[in-house]
Structures are given as structure tokens and as C-alpha cells.
């Protein structure tokens, strides 16, 4: 055999891969640049909140301070002015809790039962109602803002907690019902039939058969609702009443307050505080969050 072998390597087994190819380099660079774009506002929020006013005025928005202090945080939490009162954003935090807790519970209770009815106990016109409900989720909410003011006034609850809970329940109904209906439809029908043959009725089957099997979907619904309701602004401003203004409203008041000098560090601290709850939920719930939005997005 002659030795004019230019490539003495005999291919065998897996192809040797270059550690870095041009494609991989491009992919990672683009992903990395986008990651920086998404992260830098968070970075700026944090470093700004740790500066003092001089640091802001004479410093650079990208450069952290060498003397971080928690003064802005203290002010944001306890002393900042949100309109008439200067008690910081902490009261707003409690308000948001007062609004979010019951709203989540009521909206999910109503929607889960409704979805259950639609999936397993349909009656005449039930599908019709559901279709209208779904279509309604596309109606811009402004269209119903004023009527809802009228309705809550008529019910005597305008400008109170029950009003905002009602409103959140109403606007959460389309998506949550869809979520629960689809989920309950996907549960094995044999289970349902067996329970009926055993003589169980509507409520018993719901609580004793379906509910225990539905932890994942309830988790997704809770995450969806807590995030959406906590982050809400307009419904809180219109329906909850000034004593119950949620954190988002208080935040807006703090930042837009015309009193004295604009304190950007306090603003940023307050902003972070407002975002902490949904962000934490997001970080801890990971895949449920993704499932939630994917589920909310998939219509039929």
C-alpha cells in the first residue's frame, strides 16, 4: 500500500466535534446579549436604590456606589409620602395582601366549579355561555369599567374591598374557567362514571374525586392569579377605595409625588419592593409559571 494518505484518521464512533463552532458562538452571543438587555434594568434598580441622592446626581446610572446604604429602603418602606399620608409603602403592601388573598380564593373557587360544571355536568346553553365568556375575554376592559362602577354602587360596595374582589373575580373568570374546564375534561372519564355509578353527586365528586387530582392546575391558577392581581393598578384605584389602595397605586404616588426633591433612590427601592412578591413567586415556581402562561395562551 502506498503512503500517500492525506487523512490517516479512520472515521469510527462519534464524530469529533470542535469545542466551539461558528454557529454555537453566534447562538450563545446573541442569547448572552439579550440576557444583558433583560437583566440590566434589574441591576440598575438595585444599585440606584443603594445610592444616596448625591451619588445619583453626580454619579453614573450604570456605576454602583462605593458607599451603599439602606437609607432609601428605610424611607420607601416607612416614610415615603403616598398622597395624604407619609407612612411609606408598607401599608400598600398590606393592602395588596388584603386584596390579593381573597380575590385569588374567590376567583379560583368560582372558576373551578364553573369549569367542572362545563366539563362534566353540561346543561342546555352551558356551552353557549362558555363561548360568550371566552369571547368576552377579548373585550377591552375599559368597556365595562363604568358599568361596573354603576353595578358596585348599586350593590353598595363601591370603593370597598368586596368591590375589587368582585371585579377581579369577574375578569379572571374567562381564562380560569377555560383552564379548569380543559383540565377536568382531560381527567379520565371512567373515574367520573364510576363515581356516579357509586351514587356520588355533584359536590361530592368535586371535592372527593376531582379536587385531590387537580393540585397541578390549582397551582397554576393560583400563580396566574396572584401575579395578575398583585400587579394590577386600575381596578385597585377605581374600586378598592383610598384606604385599600394596593402597592402598585402607592408606588405610583410615591414616584409622582410633587413634594420636594425627586428621590430616585427611594423610588427605585419602592419599585423593587413592589416587584418582590411576584418575582419571588416566579423564581420559586419556575415551570408552573410557564405552564400557566402557556395554558392561558392556548385557546381551544
Amino acid at each position: 500500500m502506498s503512503n500517500t494518505v492525506s487523512n490517516p484518521i479512520i472515521p469510527s464512533g462519534p464524530k469529533p466535534k470542535k469545542f466551539i463552532t461558528i454557529e454555537r458562538a453566534i447562538v450563545y452571543s446573541v442569547l448572552g446579549i439579550c440576557a444583558v438587555f433583560f437583566l440590566f434594568p434589574l441591576y440598575i434598580m438595585v444599585i440606584t436604590s443603594l445610592k444616596d441622592l448625591d451619588g445619583i446626581r453626580y454619579g453614573n446610572i450604570f456605576v454602583p456606589t462605593l458607599h451603599p446604604s439602606l437609607g432609601a429602603w428605610d424611607k420607601a418602606l416607612f416614610h415615603a409620602c403616598t398622597g395624604l399620608y407619609c407612612q411609606g409603602i408598607l401599608p400598600g403592601f398590606w393592602n395588596s395582601c388584603k386584596i390579593t388573598g381573597p380575590s385569588v380564593i374567590v376567583s379560583i373557587a368560582v372558576a373551578s366549579v364553573t369549569g367542572y360544571s362545563l366539563a362534566n355536568w353540561p346543561f342546555k346553553f352551558s356551552e353557549g355561555f362558555f363561548t360568550v365568556l371566552l369571547v368576552s375575554s377579548f373585550i377591552p376592559y375599559v368597556v365595562m369599567l363604568y358599568p361596573l362602577v354603576l353595578i358596585t354602587r348599586w350593590l353598595g360596595i363601591y370603593s370597598t374591598l368586596p368591590a375589587v374582589i368582585l371585579v377581579h373575580t369577574i375578569f379572571g373568570l374567562p381564562i380560569l374557567t377555560l383552564l379548569f374546564r380543559n383540565y377536568f375534561s382531560s381527567l379520565p372519564q371512567e373515574l367520573f362514571k364510576a363515581a356516579r355509578v357509586d351514587g356520588a353527586g355533584y359536590w361530592r365528586i368535586f371535592f372527593q374525586v376531582f379536587a385531590p387530582m387537580s393540585i397541578p392546575i390549582f397551582t397554576v391558577a393560583v400563580i396566574l392569579q396572584v401575579t395578575g392581581i398583585w400587579n394590577d393598578f386600575l381596578f385597585g384605584v377605581i374600586y378598592a377605595g383610598p384606604r385599600n389602595y394596593p402597592m402598585t397605586v402607592q408606588l405610583n404616588n410615591i414616584v409622582n409625588s410633587l413634594e420636594g426633591v425627586k428621590e430616585y433612590n427611594v423610588d427605585m427601592a419602592a419599585t423593587i419592593l413592589t416587584g418582590i412578591v411576584p418575582l419571588s413567586i416566579y423564581f420559586f415556581s419556575g415551570k408552573y409559571f410557564v405552564r400557566g402562561i402557556a395554558a392561558g395562551a392556548v385557546k381551544g
Binding site: 479512520i10 472515521p11 469510527s12 464512533g13 462519534p14 464524530k15
Partner: protein, 372 residues
């Protein structure tokens, strides 16, 4: 570790020492395989035996952990699938949904920069062979399952390659369609004469289509032979039980007698197995399994039932299948099934005689499962 040039020319596909592992799990274990030009080879086995993995390694869609793949003498182990001279047909057809039949077939050629005239000619030829001419402007959504499968074959056909790979192409179809397309694939092979490697779990497809069958289990090839050999002389108990429907009967017993005159003792009676072609020396004294296919057993009645070498059995139940009838019998403590012509009327509870055709039987070592 290589294939000699002269041997390689007549070999369409060769595998040397191919192994594939996912972490600790070994899916393929050091396989060697030679497939001559024009052969229709079927890789047969249940889910998880590695047959699809092997096919994907040959195609280049999966990288082996070890070993080499040769196609037409060329080492293609590191080549992209498109450069290996293969065409592939998938279980789910995998037709490009937004393209017409004609575009589906020509897309790959267009991408490779072939000139229009050549593409047209190839598409024309393929659609003639597969009777796709009236469907060329339709989209996959508008086609039936069988038509889609033909388009999938057409897409492979236009590539003008030597080797066709089929990954369970008929599994998604109903029984009737499956039978029809099976025949078409066989016709195609006869007409084109290309090498075809076909993966399936359906033994009937394997038996009807293959020149040779490779029965696989756990990442290894259990037996590689033509269908009739596999059917009549399975190399081990696994292959024997996998092939053939209704399946082979396995009767446990012991090998007694002498080397020159071995016998199998079953429920008190002795069966003379001296007519059996042992592979080696008869291992007297070992526990064995006597394998007899339902069609290789005779049911005898009346005085025939009392002859020498005929066993007593009681009919347990009878399954009429139209063309013949399957009779389930109790032989001692074991149950066997026997195929008889449907004209014979046999009733449950009857005492009958069972005669084994030893020459067509298979003996297996009870422990190793190997054919004796």
C-alpha cells in the same frame, strides 16, 4: 476493523462493532452486519430492542458511541445523512405539511442546487412508479394515509440512492391498508432492486417482505437468516417464541435415553427424538424445552391415538379461526395448542392423541434457551 475493498463493492451496507449508549444504558451492543447489494433486510424486534437506533445510526441521524458504518464500501461514519447515499421513510410520513406533493419530493433536490430539468425528470419517474401523478398538486392534508406513505417513499426515491431505510412505515395504518402497502413495497423492491433496510415489530411484515431477517433483542442480533430458516430453525427460545402466530408451544421436559437414541420425557411418557438434528452432541440428562409449532402437531383419534409415541391429552377449548381451528389441549400439566383443519370437529373434554413431528420441532436448553 475494516472492510476489504473487493468485499466492500458487493456489500451495500456494512456495520462494524457498532455500539450506542445513553449514559449507562447500552442500546446497541457491538454489532456487526453485512448487507449485500439489493437485499431486503428486516430488523425485527419488540420496542426497545434497538432496531430503530440501529437504523438511525446507519442513516446518520444518531451518532454511535463506537463502531463504523460503511455504505457501498465508503466509511460514512462521520458523514451527514444527506451525503450517505440513503433515502428514508418515516413512521409518521414526516411530509412537509405546507408543501404540495410535488414540492415535498423536489425540495431536497432544489436545496442541493440540482438543475430544474433533472429535478422534473426524477419527480416524474418517481411519481410514475408510485402512481402519484394525479396527486402532485395536492397537499399532505388532502391525502389518505396510504397516499401519504407513497409520497414519503417518493421523496426517498427521487434522491436516486442505493439504500432505502424504512422506520416502521406501516405502523400508523389500519390492518387492511397495511396489507395493501406491504405488497406495494415488495413490488417496489422487485422493480427497483435497491438495498432496503426495514424496521418493524410486526413479524408478518418481516416474513413476507424480507430476504433476510435480523431478530433483535436488547441491542444484539439474535439471529440473522432468511425467513424460512428463522421460522423453522430458530436459534434460541426467544426467536422461536417471537416468530410465528399462533406461537410455538414449549413443553418442559428432560432429555433422557442415550446419545444415539435420545428421548424426551413428558408427563410420564417418553418421546423418541432420535430423528431430531442436534447441533452438537445431545446433552443427555439436561432439562430442555421441546418446541413444536401448532401446525407441526397431529391430533389422532380412535385406535391411532393408542399408537407408540402418541401422547394422551384432553381438549380444553377450541378456537375456530375460519381457515383452520386452534385446539387447546392439556398434556399432563402443560397446555399446548394444535392447528387443525376447520373441517375437523373436536369438542372440549374429548380425549385425543397428540403426535409430534420431531423433524420439524426445535429443542432448547431450558436454562440458556439455546437451540440444541
Amino acid at each position: 476493523m475494516s472492510v476489504s475493498p473487493t468485499a466492500a463493492k458487493s456489500l451495500s451496507v456494512s456495520i462494524r462493532g457498532l455500539a450506542q449508549s445513553y449514559g449507562a444504558l447500552q442500546v446497541l451492543k457491538e454489532l456487526d452486519l453485512d448487507i449485500p447489494d439489493g437485499e431486503f433486510l428486516v430488523l425485527l424486534g419488540p420496542s426497545g430492542c434497538g432496531k430503530s437506533t440501529l437504523l438511525n445510526c446507519i442513516a446518520g441521524l444518531l451518532e454511535p458511541t463506537n463502531g463504523q458504518v460503511f455504505i457501498k464500501g465508503k466509511n460514512v461514519t462521520w458523514e451527514e445523512p444527506a451525503k450517505r447515499g440513503i433515502g428514508m421513510v418515516f413512521q409518521s410520513y414526516a411530509l412537509y405539511p405546507q408543501m404540495t406533493v410535488e414540492r415535498n419530493m423536489s425540495f431536497g433536490l432544489r436545496v442541493s442546487g440540482m438543475n430544474k430539468a433533472e429535478i422534473e425528470q426524477r419527480v416524474k419517474r418517481a411519481s410514475e412508479i408510485l402512481q402519484l401523478e394525479p396527486l402532485l398538486q395536492r397537499k399532505p392534508m388532502q391525502l389518505s394515509g396510504g397516499q401519504r406513505q407513497r409520497v414519503a417513499i417518493g421523496r426517498a426515491l427521487v434522491r436516486d440512492v442505493d439504500v432505502f431505510l424504512f422506520d416502521e412505515p406501516l405502523s400508523n395504518l389500519d390492518a387492511k391498508l397495511r396489507a395493501e402497502l406491504r405488497v406495494e413495497i415488495k413490488r417496489l423492491h422487485q422493480r427497483l432492486g435497491n438495498t432496503m433496510i426495514y424496521v418493524t415489530h410486526d413479524q408478518i411484515e418481516a416474513m413476507t417482505l424480507a430476504d433476510r431477517i435480523a431478530v433483535m433483542k436488547g441491542g444484539t442480533i439474535q439471529q440473522l437468516a432468511d425467513p424460512m430458516t428463522i421460522y423453522s430453525k430458530p436459534i434460541n427460545r426467544y426467536v422461536a417464541g417471537f416468530i410465528g402466530s399462533p406461537s410455538m408451544n414449549f413443553i418442559k421436559g428432560t432429555l433422557g435415553g442415550t446419545i444415539k437414541a435420545p428421548t424426551v420425557e413428558v408427563s410420564g411418557q417418553k418421546l423418541d427424538v432420535s430423528d431430531y438434528a442436534f447441533a452438537g452432541v445431545a446433552p443427555i440428562g439436561s432439562a430442555i424445552e421441546f418446541g413444536a409449532r401448532p401446525e407441526h402437531i397431529n391430533i389422532l383419534r380412535g385406535k391411532d391415538a393408542k399408537a407408540k409415541g402418541v401422547f394422551d391429552a384432553v381438549v380444553e377449548l377450541v378456537e375456530p379461526m375460519g381457515s383452520d381451528t386452534l385446539v387447546w389441549l392439556e398434556l399432563g400439566h402443560q397446555k399446548i395448542s394444535v392447528r387443525v383443519e376447520s373441517s375437523h370437529i373436536i369438542k372440549p373434554g374429548e380425549h385425543v392423541g397428540v403426535q409430534f413431528r420431531v423433524k420439524q420441532a426445535s429443542l432448547f436448553d431450558a436454562q440458556s434457551g439455546e437451540r440444541l
